[in-house]
Symmetry: D3
Subunit: 242 residues, 6 copies
């Protein structure tokens, strides 16, 4: 029995509130249950110096948590003077995942920066960030097309992410904090809308996992990601950018 | 004529959404028009080392802006490895202002940390932070009393803040970004509910100001702060903490 | 009764020793009583990248305290690896104040950097820095004119600064450390020679202040600043640069 | 055809040179082909402050690359003043993997720090670090037992790691740099000697991967890790610590 | 012929102005010609954690240059966020040199921190810092004895320092900036009043030096240091601390 | 009697293993007894911005110690976020010493960076770094000539370094850690193959030293450096670069 009473293959309620803030080219508040992340996409007409011009554009990401997004207050990274290893790991993951959604050549000489800032954390902040980051990026790209700054939409595939794990010996989908902090295994999966894997990051926390458990977890992840992508399509279909 | 069409002595709509996030002892989303700041109050049972035990408790504040809270994306302070001068100046101001609201002895051996994170900026982020920070702090104090951790409420006075300035030669109340970036003078005022001044910070940006202009600006600030405090009272009267 | 025995509207002895060090384009040792600050003005033939060329030149400031300028030794900011919030706040204030003295267009493509280094602190280091910084800047500008590098003197007004406050319930002028550390209110005022306000920064430390007290403090500040400007004029009239 | 001419399921030559340096409690030079990493294990009689005393000991890891371990010189992280995201990600991975090898309670109040310093890089530095780090740790634990500082060996399982990937459309084992930099998918796998998974980190670089490819990669990884563990057992059986 | 017209074995005028600032336990402005350094000695009743209690006290030093102490403005180390290699090298040298003057056991549980801040640089700032640092330290020790905090004077020997070098093929004493920047060899020598060497740091800048040149330089240094020590004795004999 | 049983004028075994790592233009593992340092020379076709083009090329050095190169583990400088004073002092010394070996004009527009990373420390790491750094640099220069990128060999002289000191009252050559940590005087000497001095850095640790002792130490250093240079010549004559 899960602490939340959910079925093992049941997601938390997933929602995307588009245009949550007004300045960014794309902006969304993504919720996976009580986990809430503001994702904004910012577009600049330049690419990193190290990138060859003929490779097209670039997508990068930054991640942060408000100090009191968590149960007990965390030190502010800006005040401590550096980003921790977990932060860097997550923002590198978000960037890789979202670049896998695009044909970067079609992006032209643009850089899109995704800022994923967690305002309330209850497990799965990185998977919510990737899933919400995709929506913010898609909105920004839609704007670029409408303004005639790029001719074709660079999106090849929807991309979304969910966590799965082994909790009390049973594979479960979309761990919340109560599960995450006690799971034997925690696995973050990023997939696209054709069912291809982009990232699989599984970590045994107390007990190792075997091939059968991995297969079950990947099944659950596939189901969850399809549901998230369906939600992404709904919100993008109904929220015009202008 | 103000860009927003407001009267010279007219505030933007002010609102406080209490319990905006769930983990903090006190939490509010404060809006001054399009300026939106998440204020959380975190309580710890310790005081800074340099504070004498018989001086009671302490209140401190940290301030940040999400990178895309602004019109063009700002670099993330955590990524740059240090907080800028403006950030430090503002968080020192918030801390001083909110300490002035309390009898710190009654706070006992507790430290309250206010985190003011701007999710959307349109001028007046520091004044919104102080005004919202007071509400978050008051909610946290209410919780401490209900749990029996402090016997008396340390609040001596409500504290709120507003900006005033000279825009196109005319004193105006509560500058938004369109005004702030073109004002001749910008003044931030912090007052309590008895009309006493806690902070007055006036800066001439292009033209100096004289005593008469200062008097007019202080009149406007007094009016605005009374309105904000009335709104604080309403939200605190109707939003029980538990 | 003030600890120093001064009258309430009495400044400490103010002096400016010009050409205190030999390398800078302008250099002065300013004393407000026992507070002593070395102010140097350095001129470079370039302007910050973010400044439009047609806006003319720029003035910026840096501030520091020798570790043992104070009663007990402070940690050296260079050794701690960052400048504290108070330092940043003060150097931003000095820069804004001195820019307000000039027609920056007449400065042409030059940047003047004021370094204000406190060698002995006894209250009022920021007001002495602004007042002395003006003298160092004026000397450097005089040199630029004499060398033919700028045609007209960019100085619009003399600028000086003094602190005022409420000590033992009474408004007083030019607080020394004994007063500053016990004052109910501390206010730093920057004005120009036509009596216009450039900055007013008042902070209630223990008790709030009211409109009448503010009026009295502004009167005292006006008197003090006139005296400082008179002293600035004397030293600039008699100390030729070459 | 692989650039090295190896079969798809063929490891590079793996070797462990024990006691490579003399000061550490455990020390080994691990080679996976031309990739060479010095792994040292240092033992301290203390545990991190945040660890409950009854949880036993702790294992942590740090990772670095000599600036010219790579084909073109990388900036030295100590000179740049911070460790990059990749470094932090890798050292967190090494620490988690090696903690999974132990019953930390049996370690008592000791912290083991693994330093993995790459002196020559040719792909797979993190997998070599984990595999070599295990040997250095086992040597240090052997020493603790011989000195009577811990009664039982905390090792539950051997732990080793290898990379697998999809290169030119074919799953291959133990990618060298020529393959790694062109692979469609790169996956690092950490397993123990009972075939349980500790970490699976797969990243699609250009094309996504599917379930069948994942299965093939996990087969290859299992084969490779068994070979590495056999080599670990040989070196530990023959290299007495004293 | 030297640029200054001095004889090869002639020091610049050396002076020590005691009690140059009022807060420190010992304070002096030392001048070697146009090189001017404020040296203060601060006493704390504690010793570094790593020092065994029975080893007595400790002496340490910090060094800095005001940004415009030099001909062209240097960046402020506090603003750049770290001390440069030259600064660290010099402050380590000052600390070692002054510890060599004392019987640290007699210092008891005290740490003396010397701050040497260059307000005007014209070559030889480190040798002036050591020579002036000794005077500030001696004044602070005198104060400790007068207050009964230590029974005996820990000073074993006077310590002073001077630079020597090869300029235009000729050994010269006490190089000023014009010489220092063009010398073939630059050597800093620290000696005590019995003629013993504490530090000898010679660097060939363009041409190597031989044994005969070294002998000549050491002769000059011995002469110069005797003169500086004589001046130290004079100022310490006539400037009572209280 | 020396702890190692060596004669007072006896070096530890010195060896240079060329081509120790494969990527660098020059690479050597230098051993002075148990002290082992990996020295690599990296060549870039650019020179520092501050260097005039007609001055030719540049040589710089960086130094580091693996955390467990020492008897007890040192904190990793990359993790602490800055290089310590000792590290900076040593890398400045290595750079100056190796620049003295070359006619920098003949180097053309190239920068050579020497990385000296200590993998095992037993005293004399900086002298081994200089001696080994010369070999790595010479190999890199040989490669530049063979590739036709520079016409003439810029090497003017071989350069090597050794430490000498006073141990138990007796001058000794090439101190190991057991001696170094107890020596009364420690002196590092850098010379070229014509017997000219490049650097002499002598430090009295407990007792001062006199002219006679300095003479004896310089004799020992001269002998040791001749032996090191002979070994350099042997390894460079027999290890072709390609």
């Amino acid at each position: 029995m899960r602490p939340s009473g959910r079925a093992n293959d049941e997601m938390r309620p997933v929602s995307f509130i588009p245009n949550f803030t007004k300045h960014a080219e794309g902006s969304v508040l993504v919720s996976f249950g009580d986990t809430r992340v503001i994702c904004t996409a910012s577009v600049e007409e330049r690419t990193p110096r190290w990138l060859d011009k003929d490779q097209g554009g670039w997508v990068t990401a930054e991640y942060g948590m408000l100090p009191r997004s968590t149960n007990s207050r965390m030190g502010r990274e800006a005040a401590r003077g550096k980003q921790g290893g977990r932060t860097m790991e997550i923002q590198r993951l978000i960037g890789r995942s979202l670049r896998a959604a695009l044909d970067l050549k079609k992006l032209g000489e643009h850089t899109i920066t995704l800022d994923c800032d967690v305002i309330q954390a209850d497990g799965g902040t990185r998977t919510a960030s990737i899933s919400g980051g995709f929506v913010a990026m898609a909105m920004a790209l839609d704007g670029l097309i409408k303004k005639g700054r790029i001719p074709d939409n660079p999106i090849l595939h929807h991309v979304a992410s969910v966590s799965v794990g082994i909790f009390n010996g049973t594979p479960v989908l979309d761990l919340d904090y109560a599960e995450d902090s006690n799971a034997e295994t925690d696995m973050n999966v990023v997939m696209n809308d054709s069912g291809g894997f982009i990232e699989v990051q599984g970590t045994a926390e107390g007990a190792v996992f075997d091939r059968e458990e991995m297969d079950q977890m990947l099944e659950l992840a596939t189901k969850g990601i399809q549901e998230i992508i369906a939600e992404q399509r709904t919100v993008l279909a109904t929220s015009p950018t202008d």
